[in-house]
């Protein structure tokens, strides 16, 4: 061990570079691993901890005994508890106020939420539980006071987490919970109070569909307003996270592979350098295994602390944005459970490092000892291209750069491995940036989702005609959305988007197959839903509306829609209207080409319509998407560090190989700037092909793969934008410049005479 430490001290600079490389890889792995794992498991963890019911149903208010008489008949039910939800209650605390608060009056029984701070409300005291999103946003702790219209000031007994929706303010309605006992005490005892929410826990959650099918006759006559199953909630919440998680996993893998490749290159050079020493050892009887073991030990001595630091820093750096993401989603952070995947990632990285160190040593060990003792260049490949005559009289300007490029190219394998690493990293970064751009455009640009309306105006269907008359408005129609389920597979939720007439002027997600719907008996189905239900154009779709009626449609075509994970159905409003009085929904406003949005907004305001700009995603997801985009860009940055370390290492090795030539140059009068030019040439020989290869790799391989993953939802425009390519090119250039500066400085530190003594 001590000898190993001495060996390491002997080549401090290389050790430092290698450590930086590993730390950067560890950083990328730490960030990607912790974000990915947290997002992937956050929902399940929160659902389990908060004892999420298998079914959450909202009805029109009824007496509890009546609802109980109906729901107790359902098969496969373990427990049912009830709540009364009262909406549009003013809530205020600490200077914040909301007019749209929801108060859940919780009846005795299983709660369906987890207490994350403080304690539950049970007795009839004047207290309330506050939802975690509200507590975070309004900065509330147990013991604070919150004022509730009609209930006065209540003490915050605790903070509750429930996964049946995203958190405030992502969801626009802040929620508190109070106990039924308190309400009874306040407003008078009622042996059979009204309830409008039933939480159902099943004995066997796998038989959810049987219970849902039985719920249809049991709930006949009850006006069911919403039927949420765990799966429906999860899909509503996990909208964009799925792709991001897959991406982060790929990136972590890329980081590991890059680190491994670079380490292999460095270890290979190191082994070559130590070949005579190794030869002597072997001559004295040391086995090949021992030499390999030494290499591995050396590598691990550097790698373990570096990687541990990198992973830890990465995880810590990712902690805050991850917590923000999870907070929005009403999910739980893994906490201590994050340790295991990080340890596993660390171990994987160590395995890669060890393999990268052992492999060249093993290969070298196959050579005869005499060859090792001879030392010198042990690679069979020629350093110099023989017989190639260069054109006489060529302009020597730029000759230094070309010389540097020559130097870099001399060791083909090393050059190739560095270029590959840079290319892969560049491609990965380009992909990440593309996805981040997509998320941002999802947020800001409705065109991403195929939307052609720029504004929405709250109003009734009758207002559409008035809106359309306003100059600058090309078309206006009410856009209604209904959350429903497939009638034959009640566990498959879907969202119906209905327009009174043709929807194509307002939104036209690209057609994957079939044709647009023409009559009110037809629908267009999103690709995600079509895949889940096995639908094709010409097939039949049966929708169960909340009222219990079954509506059947013919599938006219399948579209690529990004909204709601592709589980959307475009239909006409008419058949849905037979179901209930009116569907509601804002009026979508499409502007005439060339019309100025601001002017139209003002005209609408004058006509009495308050308009809102359309984002790509729904407003409640915008903040979430922004945080996701930030996380992705930070991961890209971490990978950039890997690139930096790779280039620095390669340049260092090149400079070390070419010590003599560099010394000769300096002896001949090369200024430090000239020296830097040579190294810049070497760096350019690495960066330029890497950038080209990276762009090609991203466009030809990675983007199609990821787009294929998301093919259900949309044709994701994941091509390389000029801005991204410039950014990555600039980044690589910056990396190259930094590397050149670092290596030049270190090269200049050595006396020329010492350099002259070395073989090239």
């Amino acid at each position: 061990m001590r000898r190993a430490l001495q060996r390491l001290l002997g080549r401090r600079r290389q050790v430092l570079v290698a450590a930086t490389l590993i730390a950067a890889a560890g950083l990328a792995v730490g960030v990607a691993g912790s974000v990915g794992y947290s997002l992937a498991t956050g929902y399940d963890r929160a659902a389990q901890r908060s004892d999420q019911p298998d079914i959450l149903a909202r009805f029109a208010p009824r007496r509890r005994s009546e609802l109980r008489a109906r729901l107790d008949r359902l098969p496969n039910v373990e427990r049912i508890s009830y709540r009364l939800e009262v909406n549009r209650i003013g809530l205020g605390a600490g200077g914040r106020f909301s007019r749209r608060g929801a108060v859940h009056v919780v009846h005795p029984g299983r709660r369906g939420y987890a207490i994350v701070a403080g304690r539950d409300v049970r007795g009839d005291g004047a207290e309330a539980l506050v939802e975690r999103g509200v507590a975070r946003e309004w900065d509330l702790q147990p013991g604070d006071r919150i004022s509730v219209r009609q209930l006065g000031e209540l003490r915050v007994a605790g903070i509750a987490l429930s996964v049946d929706n995203v958190a405030f303010p992502l969801a626009s309605v802040p929620r508190i919970y109070v106990s039924e006992a308190m309400i009874q005490r306040r407003f008078g005892a009622d042996p059979d109070p009204d309830v409008n929410i039933a939480l159902v826990w099943l004995a066997d959650p796998a038989r959810l569909d049987v219970t849902l099918a039985a719920a249809r006759p049991a709930a006949f006559g009850l006006r069911t307003e919403q039927l949420l199953t765990g799966r429906g909630v999860r899909q509503a919440i996990d909208q964009a996270a799925g792709i991001v998680i897959a991406l982060l996993a790929i990136l972590a893998l890329v980081a590991c592979v890059c680190a491994g490749a670079m380490l292999a290159a460095a270890a290979s050079a190191e082994v070559r350098r130590r070949a005579p020493v190794l030869g002597v050892q072997r001559a004295l009887g040391a086995t090949r295994r021992r030499t390999v073991g030494e290499q591995v030990l050396d590598a691990l001595l550097v790698a373990v602390p570096a990687a541990a630091a990198g992973v830890a820093i990465g995880a810590l750096a990712a902690a805050a944005p991850t917590a923000a993401l999870l907070g929005y989603l009403n999910e739980l952070a893994p906490g201590a459970a994050l340790l295991w995947p990080l340890v596993a990632a660390f171990a994987a990285l160590m395995a890669v490092v060890a393999a990268g160190a052992a492999w060249p040593a093993w290969r070298l060990g196959r050579r005869p000892i005499a060859a090792l003792l001879r030392g010198g260049d042990l690679t069979a490949r020629s350093c110099v291209r023989r017989g190639r005559r260069r054109g006489a009289g060529r302009d020597a300007r730029g000759g230094l750069l070309a010389l540097g490029a020559h130097f870099a190219l001399a060791r083909r394998a090393r050059w190739l491995s560095c270029v590959c690493v840079l290319a892969v990293a560049a491609a990965a970064v380009l992909l990440v940036l593309a996805v981040a751009d997509l998320l941002v455009s999802l947020r800001d640009d409705p065109g991403t989702l195929g939307r052609r309306y720029a504004l929405t105006v709250p109003g009734e269907a009758a207002d559409a005609a008035a809106v359309q008359r306003i100059p600058g408005v090309a078309a206006a129609a009410q856009r209604s959305t209904v959350d429903a389920a497939d009638s034959f597979s009640l566990t498959e939720p879907l969202r119906v988007i209905a327009y009174p007439g043709d929807h194509v002027p307002f939104e036209a997600p690209p057609l994957a197959s079939g044709r647009r719907l023409r009559t009110e008996r037809e629908v267009e189905v999103g690709a995600g839903l079509a895949d889940a239900l096995g639908l094709r154009p010409g097939g039949q779709l049966a929708i169960q509306a909340a009222s219990g009626r079954e509506l059947r449609f013919r599938v006219a075509g399948i579209v690529r829609a990004l909204e709601n994970d592709g589980r959307v159905v475009y239909a006409r409003t008419a058949p849905l209207l037979r179901d209930g009085p009116s569907l509601g929904g804002p009026i979508a406003v499409r502007l005439e080409p060339g019309a100025a949005r601001g002017a139209v907004v003002r005209r609408l305001a004058r006509a009495g319509f308050a308009s809102r700009a359309t984002g790509g995603a729904t407003a409640r997801n915008q903040a979430f998407l922004a945080v996701l985009a930030t996380v992705l860009r930070n991961v890209a940055l971490a990978i950039g560090l890997v690139c930096l370390a790779a280039v620095v290492q390669t340049l260092t090795l090149t400079a070390r190989d070419r010590r003599r030539s560099l010394a000769v140059l300096r002896a001949t009068g090369a200024t430090p700037r000239a020296l830097a030019a040579v190294l810049a040439g070497a760096a350019a020989a690495l960066v330029v092909p890497a950038l080209a290869a990276g762009v090609a790799l991203q466009r030809l391989v990675l983007a199609p793969v990821v787009a294929g993953l998301a093919a259900d939802y949309a044709t994701l425009p994941l091509g390389v934008s000029a801005g991204d390519a410039l950014a990555v090119g600039g980044g690589l250039t910056l990396v190259g410049v930094i590397a050149v500066l670092v290596v030049t400085r270190s090269a200049l530190g050595e006396p020329i005479a010492a350099g002259l003594e070395h073989e090239d």
Binding site: P75, N76, A203, V210, A214, E550
Partner: protein, 500 residues
């Protein structure tokens, strides 16, 4: 020498093994799978809505009328199968669209309604394994008083090729997949999915029949009245044998809840009589769907039971099961309509006479509707109170197991035993055994236990669907408590002198 011994040993072993295998197979042929709950029960221990085999339920003693002594000799074994509701589910004379409005019309549709014949067949097989002396079919053998239903049910009871299909070949009813009404369970598309179930249910099958056991039928309200409520008339006959079926109502009907029978009948009649109540669908006409007249039903049942024909259309008769037991069957169906039972004064007179003639036999009185809830039933009960020979009064109709003691003044009494149906969960028949006890002085006791049908094929699916039915036996607890199922019932000894 040793070799020969070895070979002989091997041959002996082989023979034994073959014999065991053969006997095993043969045993399976001779004795069909038994559903007796004395051997194993079906229960849903984990609450997930599916029945699984459970432990046996041995007899418990009920001593309200006296402690039942240990049994010495079995005097008679009776099987009771009640409310089979064998049904032609494709008939136009049905109102399944009323089912969703709940009580009192929530028995107009069942998710497993196409499988009624198969369930009866499975129950028959299970009963056969218990080897009863007689089988009391306690009424509501069919569901809609239709001729084809009765023919199908009798075929299943007697044995032969049962043909459940009616109208055109195949299934054409409210449960077909193309019906966009999600309140009908459509096995091809709704959970739990059973694709092709309805097609399989229409196929003819071979019924083994009750074999040698004596058939003792009772008439129930569904045997004579349309949907158990309405006496058939020209209008209902036209609908039944016609080619149009009402698929749903345009408006929600006003059905008086808890109103007396006359009002309910009037409401249903108005429903069926009104024109254009809702969209109709063309179906294949089938003359076999006509409703039989009460006299025809009684005549056919008498013929099936081997009873002498009479002029009266009331199915009142006396039947002896062995030398020790006499069954007195009463026809409690009101021909003017309504599901409530009624006993006429004439029947009361007849009963009194028969009780006096019973001699030293034990007497069991059997009606479809329980006496306690029938018009004129109170008088019958008072009559039975004063007849020491009566050991039990049997009935069905409620679809629920129920065993209550009825005390006599001066000690002792008799038992009121109601049996669950085959139509709803728990889909069980009942065995009833009259035994002489070893007590001193010697007395009588009754042993009764319930029998699950063997659940083979479609009958098993029917049991699964019946258990899930939210309007069925599970939410309404029709399987009752243990004391209503497998019990030993004591009778105050001595009640009567058994012969031999």
């Amino acid at each position: 020498m040793a070799l020969r011994v070895h070979i002989r040993l091997l041959a002996v072993v082989a023979c034994l093994a073959a014999a065991a295998a053969a006997s095993g197979c043969g045993a399976a042929d001779r004795a069909p799978a038994s559903g007796s709950t004395l051997r194993s029960t079906l229960r849903d221990a984990d609450g997930d809505g599916a029945l699984e085999p459970g432990p046996a339920e041995p007899l418990v003693a009920r001593t309200q009328l006296g402690a039942p002594g240990p049994a010495e000799r079995t005097l008679a074994t009776l099987a009771i199968v009640s409310d089979a509701h064998v049904r032609d589910e494709e008939s136009p004379a049905r109102v399944p669209f009323l089912d969703r409005f709940g009580a009192p019309v929530d028995s107009t549709f069942r998710p497993h309604e196409a499988l009624s014949a198969q369930v009866l067949d499975a129950s028959v097989r299970a009963i056969r394994a218990e080897r009863p002396d007689a089988v009391l079919v306690a009424g509501d053998l069919v569901d809609n008083a239709q001729a084809n239903e009765l023919a199908l049910a009798l075929t299943v009871l007697r044995g032969g090729t049962a043909r459940p299909d009616s109208g055109a070949a195949g299934y054409d009813g409210p449960q077909r997949a193309a019906n966009p009404d999600p309140l009908f369970y459509r096995p091809d598309v709704d959970a739990p999915r059973h694709p092709g179930l309805l097609a399989r249910a229409q196929r003819p099958f071979r019924a083994v029949g009750l074999g040698g056991a004596r058939l003792l039928p009772l008439i129930g309200n569904h045997d004579l009245l349309v949907q158990g409520e309405l006496p058939p008339d020209a209008r209902t006959q036209a609908i039944a044998t016609g080619d149009r079926r009402l698929t749903r109502l345009r408006e929600r009907p006003q059905l008086p809840d808890g109103a007396p029978a006359a009002l309910r009948i009037a409401a249903i009649r108005a429903l069926l009589a009104g024109p254009a109540l809702g969209p109709t669908r063309r179906v294949a006409a089938d003359p076999g769907r006509r409703a039989l007249r009460p006299a025809q039903v009684a005549a056919r049942l008498r013929a099936a039971a081997g009873l002498p024909a009479t002029a009266s259309d009331a199915l009142d008769y006396t039947a002896d099961v062995g030398p020790s037991l006499r069954i007195l069957a009463l026809d409690a169906v009101d021909r003017t309509g309504g599901s409530e039972g009624r006993i006429t004064p004439r029947q009361l007179t007849w009963l009194r006479r028969e009780l006096a003639r019973a001699g030293r036999r034990a007497v069991i009185v059997a009606t479809h509707q329980p006496l306690r809830s029938s018009r004129g039933g109170a008088a019958v009960l008072r009559l039975l109170d004063s007849s020491p020979a009566v050991v039990a009064a049997l009935s069905g109709h409620t679809h629920r197991h129920r065993i209550e003691p009825r005390r006599r003044r001066g000690g002792g009494g008799y038992w009121l035993i109601e049996t669950a149906s085959l139509a709803d969960h728990p889909q069980q028949a009942r065995m009833l055994r009259l035994v002489r006890t070893r007590s001193r002085p010697a007395g009588l006791a009754l042993e009764t236990w319930v029998v699950d049908h063997d659940g083979a094929g479609l009958a098993g699916t029917a049991r699964e669907l019946a258990y899930l039915d939210v309007q069925g036996g599970r939410p309404r607890n029709l399987q009752a408590r243990r004391g209503d199922r497998n019990v030993r019932l004591g009778l105050r000894a001595p009640c009567c002198g058994p012969i031999s």
